[in-house]
């Protein structure tokens, strides 16, 4: 019988069926960050339970570490939380990359980078953007702290079989339109809850033409339209990315893995609960105007008339008037970073816009690489010099101003062009106003002090 990619991977991980539609699912790799796991380790300790498979877990500190070199910026609670993480991992024999480690970084950047994110596997993490790893043909989803504890103790999770959606995106993305715009456009068309309860397989010629880093950007924001997981069938692009990474299989194991991965695709004739089609040639660079990721318009557009009370509230919070041209909106801050857009290609693309130019007076702009390895790779090709010469701050890696859990946050009423994934009220700092854009749109906004259509820049 014709099967979907998601069903093939899911079924190969079922330990047993718990009840109709709910399985005990085996977890191949468990990623941990300092924010969502301390209470899980405490729970284990209270019951005298051990971590079942420490070699299948990796911890890192990414959310609240300062990204400046001014370590005195770390607040006491963050220091305790980071120390707790390191202690818990040591006690339970789990590898951990703390701040300052050469392999430290945002958990969704380092998994793929280290070759731990492999096709045909299952990955969970106490972070909603775990959907990122689906770009490799991986069943990957975010979980809460109680489930983190469950995985630590059992290497399994009780999980409902998801609804299945396929998004087929065809056509070539126009110049200046990026993977970030593809996912923002999709979310704008479908709303923030359309993917609820679902695994979304992204397919079509647009996706096939994307690099792994672009695919990760698409899958990363699956959660922003409510989906539990994003998924892309592995192909030559995937294999080329994975091959030779530190933890990727080697030798005979590699050949065996590739043989298995070649089977990982949706069979012809397999059916989905829902199919969505996107014409990529009609996509544009998007800018959000509201307080959820579906509230966006093309950069050439205007702030819309509010269609419902939620949109009215969003416009009040964002201090925007309907009819205002998006390109007339002035910004105070620019953030290039986050698990959505902090990888080397993102930084290269932004640097091309920035090179030889200056950040607009009055704008404070940050570049926060997704991992220390991304930072090192960027520095090898001189990106740090390009950004710094233009007036950007070049930082250590971490989640940083995506959520401002570390000292990088927006002040009240500050307006930010951000390459992150959520424009929720108060997300980047109490009273802060977030506009989600692609890395090149953020770079262009930094230079001009307001949003500009990156397609018009020479």
């Amino acid at each position: 019988m014709a099967e979907t990619l998601a069903s093939k991977i899911w079924k190969s991980h079922v330990v047993t069926e718990v009840e109709e539609g709910v399985d005990l699912l085996y977890i191949d790799m468990h990623l941990l960050n300092e924010v969502s796991c301390p209470q899980a380790f405490t729970g284990l300790d209270e019951k005298g339970r051990k971590v079942r498979r420490p070699r299948q877990s990796l911890g890192t500190i990414d959310h609240n570490n300062p990204t400046s070199l001014r370590t005195e910026e770390a607040d006491p609670l963050s220091i305790v939380q980071a120390g707790t993480m390191v202690d818990n991992c040591r006690k339970q024999d789990i590898a951990c990359y703390p701040a300052g480690h050469a392999l430290q970084g945002i958990v969704h950047v380092i998994g793929p980078e280290q070759g731990l994110t492999l096709p045909g596997t299952t990955i969970v993490c106490g972070d909603s953007h775990t959907s990122t790893h689906g770009a490799f043909g991986t069943i990957a989803f975010g979980i809460g702290t109680s489930e983190v504890e469950h995985v630590l103790a059992t290497q399994c999770l009780i999980s409902r079989r998801p609804r299945q959606i396929r998004v087929t995106m065809d056509g070539t993305l126009p110049p200046g339109v990026t993977a970030k715009d593809a996912i923002l456009g999709l979310i704008q068309q479908n709303g923030v809850a359309a993917g609820a309860g679902s695994v979304v397989e992204y397919a079509g010629s647009t996706i096939r033409a994307m690099s792994m880093e672009a695919r990760m950007t698409v899958c990363n924001m699956s959660i922003e339209w409510g989906a539990r997981m994003g998924l892309i069938a592995p192909d030559d692009t995937t294999l080329e990315y994975v091959k030779g990474r530190p933890y990727a299989p080697k030798g005979a194991a590699w050949d065996e893995a590739v043989a298995a991965w070649r089977q990982l695709r949706t069979d012809d004739g397999a059916t989905f609960d829902e199919e969505i089609f996107v014409d990529a040639t009609r996509l544009e660079p998007y800018v959000t105007w509201g307080t959820n990721p579906a509230q966006s318009v093309p950069v050439t557009g205007r702030v819309p008339e509010p269609a419902n009370p939620e949109a009215e509230r969003a416009l009040r919070y964002m201090d925007l008037t309907p009819g205002t041209a998006m390109q007339d909106i002035e910004i105070d801050r620019v953030f290039i970073g986050s698990c959505t857009n902090s990888r080397l290609e993102d930084l290269i693309a932004a640097a091309r816009i920035v090179e030889g130019r200056r950040v607009s007076p009055g704008v404070r702009a940050l570049v926060v690489p997704g991992s220390m390895a991304v930072k090192a790779a960027a520095e090898r090709i001189g990106l740090d010099k390009i950004f710094e010469a233009a007036g950007f701050e070049w930082r250590l890696s971490g989640c940083s101003m995506c959520m401002g859990l570390n000292p990088d946050s927006l002040g009240t009423n500050e307006r930010c062009a951000s390459t992150s994934n959520r424009n929720f009220e108060n997300r980047q700092g109490p009273g802060g106003r977030t506009h989600l854009v692609s890395p090149i749109m953020a770079a262009a906004a930094a230079l001009h002090g307001h949003f500009v259509d990156v397609r018009t820049l020479a």
Binding site: R49, Q81, T117, S128, A153, V192, G226, Y247
Partner: protein, 197 residues
């Protein structure tokens, strides 16, 4: 978790769609390493507004929250559930919920009641007319009741049992150790792992 067959009490009404977990429990409180003390931080930013519903005398002591669709979307932070529980809420009634939030709720004794928008609106109108209105969530019968309203809601059997029997879910899975071990023995050799240093 303490077994519970029914939950009942007064309700607070916050009819707004797509309330995310950043709003329910803002990020600045995620640096804590315990599960306690989040109740007073529930809707921390919104509570700065004296007109906010949870600041009204009628909402004090409410044990049920009536709210809009897609409640709890966004971040996976279980802290949002701990904040609702810490503030005394035992159930949330809404047309739909964020997936991870729903999973987190089921592990912490927060009953999520997904009913059609019309039922949510009807309950909200009754509470606004009579803030002392008692609402009952009957877990055993999967039914929400108040004067003039009675509606069944869908509840996965497993979640229902977690409430009714107060089960230790991890303990149950550990009892399947032989099945898990058998699964592990048939995993291919190329699966990811981090060798011991």
């Amino acid at each position: 978790m303490t077994p519970r067959k029914t939950l009942s009490g007064r309700a607070a009404v916050l009819l707004q769609g797509d309330i995310d977990t950043d709003a329910i429990l803002p990020k600045q409180f995620l640096r804590r390493i315990d599960r306690e003390g989040f109740g007073e931080l529930l809707f921390f930013e919104w509570r700065k507004d004296p007109a906010f519903v949870l600041n009204q005398p009628a909402a004090q002591g409410a044990r049920i929250l009536i709210t809009g669709a897609n409640f709890g979307c966004g971040s996976s932070r279980e802290h949002a559930v701990w904040a609702l529980r810490g503030c005394g809420f035992e159930a949330v009634i809404a047309p739909s919920f964020g997936d991870i939030f729903a999973s987190n709720a089921s592990k912490n004794g927060l009953m999520l009641v997904a009913v059609p928008d019309a039922t949510v609106q009807a309950l909200a109108r009754r509470v606004e007319a009579n803030p002392a209105l008692e609402i009952t969530v009957d877990v055993e019968r999967c039914e929400v009741r108040a004067e003039g309203v009675s509606e069944k809601f869908a509840l996965p059997n497993r979640v229902r049992r977690l409430f009714l029997e107060g089960l230790d879910e991890i303990g149950l899975t550990l009892a399947d150790d032989a099945l898990i071990t058998a699964y592990e023995q048939r995993r291919p050799g190329w699966m990811p792992s981090i060798p011991k240093r």
